[in-house]
Structure formats: structure tokens, C-alpha cells
Subunit: 387 residues, 3 copies
């Protein structure tokens, strides 16, 4: 708690020292470049709706932890965006061309952090979400810098294909979160069931729908205007594919339809299409969506239980199955469907991300462990004033 406060005020102080002046636009009133920036800004607002209402409410599925999940979402977003924005303004590990670009990159970082936090949702204290954010963002920025900005000269800038972040955002966040969960999960947490009820389910489905609706803007956020129409159609068609495949697979595997599958795996098409969304024809997008939805549902219904039994570790929101596996799938599939792709760069980027995310997650989990543990997992009452 004290650590969090200390770091928080350090950021304020650091920022205050930058003494930046007001960034008034230079161009003439209503010229084309302002219009394009405003269009990017609209997409950034859509992403913000995904971060808060989407991810936030998706995590309300935990019956007695809903208000905490939303509070955590508020905190995670509110720490990720200023920290990334500050880093980028100072020119560490890259630096965006404009304020709106920087905002969108900060939102991507926040999305990855929310995915990561989903793995340990309900099992860390509120101040640990903030600490997690403070430790996660530099790691995220470091990986992003290597994959996309030529960091250490490992991958030439522009060679790694990942427009909508299947690897950089989704797989990184999920694998980092799995690392944290490995380091932190206690036996008691493993033994405590995660319960949902019909109201928490409906809230969760609301979050899922908000993610589905605004996903095209997430993938197309920084795409050139002329390629946006084809990109957003691909994203929507991929989501349709994963939604249909989730229904068919869930029914096949469980005999009935699992609400958790619908709320989660239906989105796997959006995760998997990320890498290639602006580079493939529509029918490919449909097939990628179908395969991702199937993979994710198999993950939730078969792999998750089997994995937890073996490892005695808990991934609260199943981020491995919604963001991890479909993200990796999306990054790998690019090798086969994108014309002129650099196979070496793509494989290198995926491997770097996987190894670095898990390792840094394991370490960060250890650090978090040092700052205390909840008494009881998955309850609002421990940290919130409830009646």
C-alpha cells in the first residue's frame, strides 16, 4: 500500500517536471490532418468503452466479486494510461507521432494489463492491482519495443505482422498473467470454487457484447484510412465465425450451452484476427474466426479443468483460453496467409513474446506475493464497504 502511494507520487512529480506546454494543433481549421486525428480519436473512445465497460463487466461473472472487479478495472486503466503516456512522452522505448497515437498505444497497453489481471482476478488485494500495473507496463513496453520498434535490432521495424495485437497485446498479457498466477496461487485459492449466478452472468454477457461491438475499432485503430473498411469487415466476420463455432462446439462438448463459453470464446475470433486483419480476404477471416472459436471453447471446456488439476493453479478468467491460445494461433496463422511475410521475424517475435511474458510474469508474481495476500478470495466484503 505504502509502496503504491510512493510510486504514484513519484509519477506525478516526474510528470510535473516535464513541464510540457499545451499541445495546440498547428494546422488550419478543419484541414485533412485534423480530421484524420479526430477519426482516430473516435476509435480511441471505442477502445476505452472496451477497456472499462467491456473488460470490466466481463469480469463481473464472479458472483460476489463484481463490484471489486469493476473497481479493479477502473484502477488498472487509470494507472496504465498515464504511466504508458508518460513513458512515451519522455521518448523511452519508442515514442508516438501524435497525442492520439500515443493515447491509442496506451490503451493497447491497458488492454494487455487487463488481460493479465484477469488471470489472478479476485485473488490479489486492490493495491496489488496498481502495483501489478506499475510493474507490467514497463515489461509490456519493452516487448513492444523489441517487436515493433526495432529494439536491440532483433526484428526490423515493420517486419513483425500484428496490426491488431494478437501477439503483442493478447498473448503477451495472457502469458504474463499465467506467470503471475503460477507464482501467486495458493492452495486455498485452488480449493475455492469460482461461483456465478444468473445476474452475474448477464452482466458478464454485457461486457462480452461491448467487446464484440467495438472490436473492429480496436484492430483498425492505427490502420491507414483507406484500409479501414476491409479491416473492420474482416474483424466482424471473424467474430461471427467464432460466435457460431463456440455455440456448436460448446453444445458438442457439454451437451448444453455454457454461458461462460458464449461470453468468452465468442470473442476469440477478434483475438485471432488481430495479426492479419488488414491483410487477408474476407473468407479467410471467417475461417480464422471459426477455428479460433473452436480452439477457445475446447480450451475452456477441456484444457482448463485438466490443466488446473495437474498444476493446482487457477486462471480466474481463463485468459489463457480466450487471449493466450487464440492470440498465438492468430500470430502463427499469419505465416501461412499473409503474402510476403518474413517467416523468421514472425517466429522470432512470437517466441520472444512467449518466453519474456512468462518469465517476467513469474518474477512479478513473486514480487506481488511479498506485499501480502487476501484472506479470502473472490469476495467484495474483504476490501469494499458493503452492507
Amino acid at each position: 500500500m505504502r509502496v503504491v502511494k510512493y510510486l504514484f507520487f513519484t509519477i506525478v512529480a516526474l510528470w510535473a517536471m516535464t513541464g510540457a506546454s499545451f499541445a495546440a494543433g498547428a494546422g488550419a481549421e478543419g484541414d485533412l490532418s485534423s480530421i484524420l486525428e479526430v477519426q482516430k480519436y473516435f476509435r480511441s473512445i471505442h477502445i476505452m468503452a472496451m477497456l472499462l465497460v467491456g473488460f470490466g463487466f466481463l469480469m463481473v461473472f464472479v458472483k460476489n466479486y463484481g463490484r471489486s472487479a469493476i473497481t479493479a478495472t477502473f484502477l488498472l486503466v487509470s494507472i496504465a494510461i498515464p504511466v504508458y503516456f508518460l513513458k512515451d512522452s519522455l521518448g523511452f522505448l519508442g515514442g508516438a507521432d501524435s497525442d492520439v497515437d500515443r493515447l491509442i498505444l496506451a490503451e493497447f497497453a491497458a488492454a494487455s494489463l487487463l488481460i493479465c489481471a484477469g488471470a489472478v482476478l479476485g485473488r490479489v488485494k486492490m493495491h496489488q492491482y496498481i502495483l501489478l500495473g506499475l510493474l507490467f507496463i514497463p515489461c509490456y513496453a519493452f516487448n513492444e519495443w523489441i517487436l515493433l520498434n526495432g529494439g536491440f535490432g532483433l526484428i526490423e521495424p515493420g517486419r513483425f505482422v500484428d496490426t491488431g495485437g494478437s501477439i503483442v497485446i493478447h498473448a503477451f498479457g495472457a502469458l504474463f498473467g499465467i506467470g503471475v498466477a503460477f507464482s501467486m496461487t495458493t492452495q486455498e485459492e485452488y480449493n475455492t470454487p469460482i461461483e456465478s449466478d444468473e445476474t452475474s452472468d448477464r452482466f458478464s454477457l454485457l461486457g462480452s457484447m461491448m467487446l464484440w461491438v467495438f472490436w473492429p475499432s480496436f484492430c483498425a485503430a492505427l490502420v491507414a484510412p483507406k484500409d479501414i473498411p476491409a479491416t473492420i469487415v474482416n474483424v466482424i466476420i471473424a467474430l461471427c465465425g467464432s460466435t457460431l463455432a463456440t455455440y456448436l462446439t460448446s453444445l458438442k462438448l457439454s451437451g448444453k450451452i455454457s454461458v461462460a463459453d458464449i461470453a468468452n470464446a465468442a470473442l476469440a475470433g477478434g483475438v485471432a484476427i488481430g495479426s492479419t486483419c488488414d491483410k487477408i480476404p474476407v473468407p479467410y477471416a471467417f475461417v480464422i474466426g471459426i477455428l479460433a472459436g473452436t480452439l477457445s471453447t475446447v480450451g475452456f471446456d477441456l484444457i482448463q479443468g485438466w490443466f488446473q488439476n495437474i498444476e493446482k493453479k487457477v486462471d480466474t478468467c481463463g485468459v489463457l483460453h480466450l487471449h493466450g491460445l487464440p492470440g498465438l494461433f492468430g500470430g502463427v496463422v499469419a505465416i501461412f496467409v499473409v503474402q510476403g511475410i518474413s517467416k523468421g521475424a514472425q517466429i522470432k517475435g512470437i517466441l520472444i513474446t512467449a518466453v519474456f511474458a512468462i518469465l517476467s510474469g513469474l518474477i512479478v508474481g513473486k514480487i506481488l506475493s511479498l506485499t501480502g495476500h487476501r484472506l479470502k478470495p473472490y469476495t467484495d466484503a474483504e476490501e469494499l464497504l458493503v452492507d
Copy 2:
């Protein structure tokens, strides 16, 4: 179920054969035409929010069927959009000028399908929603082709006035749904009350508000940029009119305010303004909204009960009163308020839609009946894994 899967894979196969290449934009970076396409795309996202969160949550009013209603919404949207998109890409029954136009037309089709499904909500199995979608979309596209694209030479293209789809989308979907309900409603369904509680009501009002908020983008989706300001003001003012009229009428008819009236009839102004939204002055829009809200509330509070008693048929969501009557009213009112309208074309279009929608709905209902019936209406437990 097997039929659904078979048809589903046929679509995938068909599409794969089209072998479309990636539709990269042709124009220069940031030129005007890309900017306009991106603006259309923002409206298409607003419509997507209406389809999933709006229609989806509006239907959560059925207390024990909320999670199924949301699942059904996901499936209906995910089948309607690729099927319409595929049809249009292949040039059957018309064909849009651009990817975003095609997407918006597909969303219109999905909206009409959701309206249709509202009539039998909770009384068909999950796979029957998909089958309904597969049968509905061709009928919808056929009617759209006749009214708007000069199909069979019955109505000259551009003569039928229906910018926001009062007739083509709302009345068609509602009357088709009534047809299906007529063919399918069982005595047991008629005898089973549809229950809601305070939580299902609040979710339903959330859906209603999402529809209200984004309705201007629905009506203005394909309107020329210069006419958009006047169009969206008309839509908002019409919605204000129907909301106020719904309150006054509900209070008058029931002594108290019915939540179902507020959640539904408040939207009737949006339905009725569809035909004329880009062609009339603002005060007319206010009056059309007031009349539509009144008509819809009278429908819900008086006609619905009376009709059900006589016919022993159930219209779960009351789509006749939210979309059917206000839609027809909107199409007819155009004859009196739009300057230079072709009365013949308008009347012909309305009659064709009414007759074709009901007939095809009756037939499709019969077909659906052949694929089985739910054991008990309006319960999540029959098809979902619930605790």
C-alpha cells in the same frame, strides 16, 4: 441441429470458393472518399451496438430466459451478417457499392431478423434461431430487392421512400415474426405467463436506452453527409416525442406507468420516423414521434391482450406494437408529408411488404415446427448449463 450444421458448412464452403482477394483501398492516404467511408463505418459500429447490446438486452426482460436471449442475439447477428454479406458479394438480388455499405445493409437485415425473432423469443430452440436466420435473410433480401432495387420492375428504384427502414426493416421483421408465431405457438405456450422482475426490467431498460441513443446513426447510416445533421435531429426529436407520449398514454391507460411501455413504446418514434427522417422539418418529426408513441402504447396496453385472447397466439416481445404498427404508420405518413412522393409506389411497397412478410413468416414457422419444439418455454435451464 444437423440441418443447421450442414447449412453452416455449406456457407463456409461457398464463401471459400469465392476466393476473394483482399480489398485494399485504392485511393490516396486520407483522401475525402476514405474519410467518408470511415464516417460510415462509425455509424455501422453504432448500429452494431444496437443489434447486440440494444436488442439483446431489451429481450432480457423475460426473467428466466435472459442468458438465452443474449445467446440467441449473438447467434442471430452472427448468422445474419455473413449470410447477407455473402449474398451481396455474389451480386444476388442487388449488390452494394462498397464494403461498408454492404456491412450496413447486412446490419439492417440482422435488425429485421432480431425483430422477427422477438415474436417467438423463448419458444424456439437455440438451433432454430440459426435456422430462422438462414430462412429469413433470403426473404428479407428478396423484399428489399423489390422495394428498393427495382426487382421484377414493380417499383422504380428510388421511388419508395424509406430511408431508415420503417417498412423494409421494422414492419417486414415484425409481420414476418407474427407469421412465424402464428404457425408455431402451442397451447402450452399460450398458457404460460411471461414473467419479469426488477432486475430483468433494469436490463431491459438498458437495452432500450442503447437503442434510443444510437438510433440516429441507424436512420442516417446511408444518408448523404450534407443531409445527416437534419436527419439525426429529426430522429432525436421524434424519440423525445414518443418517450413523452408513452409516459402520458401509459399513465392514462393503466393509472400507473408500465415499465414495458417505457422500455418499448418510447422507441416507437424511431421506428416511425424511419421512412421520412431525411425529408421533413423538425416539428413534423416531433408530431410523428408523439403519434407513434401513443399508437405503440395503445398497442401494448389494449390491443395486445385483446388480440392474444382472440387468437390464442403469443408475440413474446410485442414486436407488432413496437415495430409493426409504428413501422406501417411511418410508411403511410410519408404519403402525406413528403413533397413529390409517388403515392402509388409507396402504397404498392407497403402492401407487398405486408403480404409477403406474413405469408413467408407463416411458411417459415411451419418449417421450424418440423424441427422440434421446446419442452418448456422461457427458461434458460432447458438449453444452457446453469447451476
Copy 3:
């Protein structure tokens, strides 16, 4: 009730008499000015989402009054927008340049009215919300005219700094509402506790998130395109600051985290940044957000209880602490951080707003009192049909 109906039909009649013709756009297809209008329209839709879903659901925190709160929101928006729009179309107290500008100004008025109504939420009858709207809007327009349009020559147009409405919208609405609450609160209302539960809390947090997400569009609605990027970054960073500060302050003051603090005070950064959002560097915005969040949380946790005990008056939603104090703070802070500001004009505007809002609120509260009182506060059952 009868008064409301009478006034309602007077508005319809008045408007019908204006006989406005359809305002078809003049420019060429897709020229720059239409594109800018459409971009403004997208921001207006974001504001509409704040008004209905945001404010509406934020007020659902009252456990047994949620459906009424949403109904009230529908009515308040539906009366405010046409009345302000009519006033402005007739050129009373100013007049906007275009339809979309007029719509945005009407939405600002509706936001202020919703804030005002929050102070007496659950304690007035449904028709009194409409009457409140009919009396509030002229007062709001009068104050806006004096501060921004040079009314009575008191403040030169353009001198009062309040881009996002910290003073004109937030402080005015809150202080007016406090005035109404002073005139209307009964002893019984003071004695009745305002209860919430975990479901009403989650809905309330949903409303809060919708406000947070779309707040940048609220502040930037009428800002020149070239200044929009810097403006929206400031708003988002301010909201991050207030969210983090709310968490730290709430924990400090209560030992645990109050859900009401998170749902409300987290937004104080948006309220306070309003005046200066397009005129200051980013680090300033972060600090303003932190201070506003702290101030608001102290208001909710300390001042509110103390104030209610002394005055025996109830401010249902705590609008004084979310909109009143942070709004005044935002207006005052402009004096210190905006270069070249006219201190005299700023102070004059703030004082005029404070005095006029409270006085007119007190009078309007007295008038409302004459039209009856609810039997029991905070229950849906008194006016809604509930099972």
C-alpha cells in the same frame, strides 16, 4: 399532472406554428464542412450515451427506485432537448450556428438538468420531473446567455473560460438542485435511509463507466478540430487522476473502499477539467484530476453526512460533491492556470452562476411543492406497475 400536459401541448403548438422547412444541407456532397458537422454529430451521440445510459444508470444505485430512475432519465432528456432546441430555433437568449451545434447545446442543458434532478431523485413524482425540466431549462438558458453570449452586457462573449462546462453545466445544475432540495425535502424524507444492494451497485458502476468513457467527447464537443487531440488527452488523464485519488482517499477515510465513492468521485476529474480542458498541458490535467477526486471523496465521506445532520436536507445523489464542488473548483482553478485569462470575467461568471442557481432552485422547489408530494420516497411501487 394537468399542468404538465397543458405545457406539453403548448410546446407542440408553438413549434407547429414555426412551420420550419426541412433544413437540407447546402454544400456539395462530402465537402469538408459536412464532414466536420458529421464529426460533431458523433460527439453528440457520445453525449447522448452519457445522458441516458450514463446518468440514468448511475442513479440506479437506489435499490428500490431503479426503474423509476431510468424512467425519470428518459423523461428529463425528452423534455429538455425539444424545449432547448425550440428556444434556440426561435432565437431567444442566443442561437446556435447549425443544427448539430444546437443539438449539442441542448444536450448540455439536459446534462445540467439531470444533475439538478439527482439532488431530489426519488422524492418527486414522475410528472414533477417534467415540470422541473420545463422550469429549469429557461433558467439554465438565461445563465448560459449571460456567461457565454454577452447577455445584459455583463460579461463580454468569449471571456468566460468554461469549454467543458464546469461552471455553466455542472456547478449550475448541482447548485440549482441543492436549492430545489432545500425547498422540498420533508422530515420523512430526511428520516428515510437510501438503500443500495450489490445489483443496484453494479448497475450504478455501469452508469459511471459510461460517463467516464464518453466524457472526452462531452468536453471536446464544440472544440475546434485541431485542438481536439490535446483536449481529449487532458480529459482522460484528469479522469485517471481522479480515479486513483478517489481510491486512495476513500481507503484513507473509511478504512475500506466505498463503492459510492468509486462510482461518483472517480468522475470528478471530468467535472473539474471542464473549464480548462483545451488550454493546459497534460501534467496540469493530471494534478487537477487528482485534486478534484480527493475533494469529491472528502465531500462524499465527510461533508455530506455533516451537512445533512445540520441542515436536515437530503441531496439524493450527492450532486453537490460530484458536480457542485468539483465544478466550482474547476472554474476557479482556471484563474491560476490559463494564460491571459480575464480574472474579473471568470470570478463574475462564477458568482453569478452560484447565486442565480441557488435562488432559482429555491423558487422552483417551492413551485414544485405546490404540485404535491410523494407518499413514500425511493420506491418504484408508488408510480410504476410492479408485480
